[in-house]
């Protein structure tokens, strides 16, 4: 738990500072210092964890807002008389499920959520905490990361609104930081691979899910004890129509960083200006996450 005072320090600036230190260590006299780089990697990891938490909180807030707006628009097209009295209980449940700080947004979303067929909107915090119905108060687990996720609800009475099935994200890309699997799902709202605990929440894919493994070897050719630095770079790619933040549709920055580290740290030497751009806030937002800190040996 990073202290609040340290949180005031920009996690992003720490990340960029750390990356620059690792980069500079390549040109230092005497070779790369293993001890110092290991310590820098710990700072990088800590900053990354804080950054992801902050980012997810931000996504959650943005998502809530967007969903509320979307649902509002959709509601206007609905016949208000179609709303059943039965739904109120479910509204309570889903409201409880969408726990989090933005309770007011949640309430609004959940009320509308009753109108969504075969799904109920899960908030980012719900995503982060696994199954919020069971464990609403759980601390967001940074190793799980899901984008907008429309999930089949166990509550069957949502079925009465099939008309709205199509009004959901057409394509969702999610990544699993533990198995290094990036999954893109098209044409659908329901996705076992939306959940990082896929087995836990999977309801059976309604539509074929494309699994795409993103893998990447990064060889650092400095010392004899070079390990193949095979780390799947995490792609956070969201093409969700309901979330139009340009950061999340821009994969070029990720590709840049991947290609930079793909050519070992020598890539950094030739791409220094790119690195500075990449280390900017925009790029860092789409950087995704690192399961392991950089170990340059």
């Amino acid at each position: 738990m990073i202290s609040t005072m340290e949180c005031a320090v920009d996690a992003q600036s720490l990340i960029s500072m750390s990356l620059m230190k690792i980069h500079n260590s390549r040109t230092q006299r005497g070779g790369i210092k293993l001890h110092k780089n290991l310590l820098v990697s710990y700072v990088l990891r800590n900053a990354r964890q804080v950054y992801i938490k902050e980012k997810y909180a931000e996504i959650y807030r943005m998502q809530q807002y967007e969903e509320v707006m979307t649902v509002c628009n959709e509601i206007q097209e609905l016949n208000p008389l179609d709303l059943d009295a039965e739904d109120t209980d479910d509204e309570e449940q889903t409201r409880a499920a969408c726990c989090g700080e933005e309770a007011s947004l949640c309430d609004a979303a959940c009320q509308r959520g009753a109108a969504q067929p075969e799904a109920h909107a899960r908030t980012a915090s719900a995503l982060l905490s696994g199954c919020p119905i069971e464990d609403g108060g759980k601390e967001p687990e940074p190793s799980d990361y899901r984008s907008c996720c429309m999930e089949a609800s166990p509550l069957s009475h949502f079925d009465q609104f099939p008309a709205l099935q199509d009004r959901h994200c057409n394509k969702t890309t999610v990544l699993d930081l533990d198995t290094h699997v990036v999954t893109t799902v098209e044409n659908g709202y329901l996705y076992q691979d939306c959940c990082c605990d896929a087995l836990q929440c999977g309801q059976g894919a309604q539509s074929p899910a494309k699994k795409r493994k993103v893998e990447f070897g990064c060889c650092i050719s400095e010392v004899e004890e070079i390990s193949d630095f095979t780390a799947a770079r995490k792609r956070a790619k969201r093409e969700d129509c309901s979330y139009s933040n340009p950061e999340y549709t821009d994969t070029s920055n990720i590709s840049n960083l991947i290609s930079i580290f793909g050519s070992g740290f020598s890539g950094l030497l030739s791409r220094q200006t790119d690195l500075e751009q990449i280390c900017s806030k925009q790029a860092l937002a789409s950087l995704g996450a690192w399961t392991r800190a950089i170990v340059a040996f």
Binding site: I2, E6, R29, G31, H35, E224
Partner: protein
């Protein structure tokens, strides 16, 4: 413990082989006075002159320093009257030599720095002195010997060395040795190379006077002083997959009396004590010394500041001391779960860690040292401050090594850093500390109250004021 007529307590150092006396005032007050400063006065510091290690020999008569340029400078104490050590005199240059040169590893395309990381003296066995010096990759054994006589009266050679024409030789004589000006020669007797893949951070001579260890980031090797073409690996913490690397070795030292025991510290803040009798490879420790982290102090930099930069056994072998970024801890070898004493060196820096990370100061490796009878410990800090902690009397003092306080026998005034709030007169605020002026290396005379601290390129010698 006896008292002189002046009321001064005399302690004898239990491990000393000869009678040496340490002087302490009642109450344990020590007043430190400036004695000498060595090095250039220039503010413009040449990188090669940066002092990288300081070490007294076992009697304290010799003081060796190593620098970034690969040179070793040895100072000798000119003792006017050896029977009365309270009349101390100065340290003067005794020998200077180039220990290591810059090298290039062509296979790995790596430059190997000539910087001297550590110097360790061997106990004296004969007229010559021996020391081990090491850079990142190679350890060398140097013999320092004196020559104060030279032969004269060769039969076949002239005085200038030219060979005589044999036909001109009509008589035979025995050459004689005549006095000459003292010449101190340093010659490399052994070179211990090619045993370390990573950067050597420590060397330590065993109490058996036959073996020594060298430690790099991931491995510790055991050498015999006579054998250079092989060494035994006794600790290897390199993981099979380097991605799983979580800690490195930061320092290692042999026990002062038990030739089978050594300790090594890690970047995670743990110390492992190993017994070489248990197995050939000492990967499994006999004891693990670790203090649980205080969760309320958790920050981005927790791992960095808990990394141990130095570990030193006490002279009596019962305790060991570790230095991490903000504190010094003294451990009883019989208690593994927490230190027996903790001293905060510069706690006011805890709120500045981000800036210190930015300017790389957070990676500085401070050393620490014990005094001769293990009652006082010392370490360095920033702004050319150094800290002395009196364990027995629970006092500590902050002193400064500066040219301004360099008048002969000038008593050093204690310094105080104002952590926050209203700054009192004579206090220095944290923000005005100069982080480029750091004291990383300190040493304490093994038998006397003489201390030496190394600023960037100067060596200061202070001594306890004697009435």
């Amino acid at each position: 413990m006896t008292y002189t007529s002046e009321g001064i307590q005399l302690h004898s150092s239990p491990e000393s082989t000869s009678k040496q006396w340490l002087l302490y005032r009642p109450g344990g007050d020590m007043q430190w006075c400036f004695s000498q400063v060595k090095g250039a006065i220039d503010d413009d510091v040449a990188e090669a002159d940066i002092i990288s290690t300081v070490e007294f020999n076992h009697t304290g008569e010799l003081l060796a320093t190593g620098d970034k340029g690969g040179r070793v400078v040895i100072f000798q104490q000119e003792i006017e009257n050896k029977n009365h050590p309270q009349f101390r005199s100065e340290y003067n240059v005794y020998s200077t030599f180039q220990s290591h040169e810059p090298e290039f590893d062509y296979l790995k395309s790596l430059e190997i720095e000539e910087k001297i990381n550590k110097i360790r003296w061997l106990p004296q066995k004969n007229a010559a002195q021996f020391l081990l010096s090491t850079n990142d990759k190679t350890i060398k054994l140097w013999k320092i010997s004196e020559r104060d006589k030279r032969p004269e009266g060769y039969n076949l050679k002239e005085e200038d060395g030219r060979y005589k024409d044999p036909n001109t030789i009509t008589s035979l004589r025995v050459p004689v040795l005549i006095p000459m000006d003292l010449m101190v020669e340093a010659s490399p007797r052994r070179v211990f190379a090619n045993a370390h893949t990573y950067h050597i951070n420590s060397i330590s001579v065993n109490s058996d006077n036959e073996t020594y260890l060298s430690a790099d980031d991931l491995r510790i090797n055991l050498w015999h002083l006579e054998i250079t073409d092989r060494s035994f690996n006794i600790v290897d913490i390199k993981p099979a997959n380097m991605e799983e690397l979580t800690e490195v070795i930061t320092a290692a030292e042999f026990h002062p009396h038990q030739c089978n025991t050594f300790v090594y510290s890690s970047s995670k803040g743990t110390i492992r004590l190993c017994d070489m009798r248990v197995s050939a490879l000492c990967d499994k420790h006999s004891k693990l010394f670790e203090e649980p982290e205080d969760p309320s102090n958790r920050s981005f930099f927790s791992e960095i500041i808990s990394s141990i930069s130095d570990v030193k056994f006490s002279h009596n072998g019962r305790y060991m001391m570790t230095r991490d970024y903000l504190s010094m801890k003294i451990w009883d070898l019989n208690m593994e779960n927490r230190p027996v004493e903790t001293y905060q060196v510069h706690e006011y820096l805890r709120s500045k860690l981000c800036s210190l990370y930015e300017n790389d100061c957070i990676f500085d490796k401070f050393e620490c040292c014990w005094n001769g009878n293990d009652s006082v410990v010392m370490t360095g800090s920033y702004n050319n401050f150094f800290r002395i902690f009196d364990r027995g009397h629970r006092r500590d003092v902050t002193l400064e090594a500066s040219r301004e306080n360099s008048k002969p026998m000038q008593v050093l005034k204690p310094r105080k850093v104002c952590a926050g709030g209203k700054r009192k007169k004579d206090e220095i605020s944290v923000d005005s500390l100069d982080f480029n002026k750091k004291i990383l290396h300190t040493a304490w005379h093994p038998q006397d109250n003489i201390i030496t601290v190394a600023t960037t390129n100067n060596l200061y010698i202070f001594q306890d004021k004697v009435n």
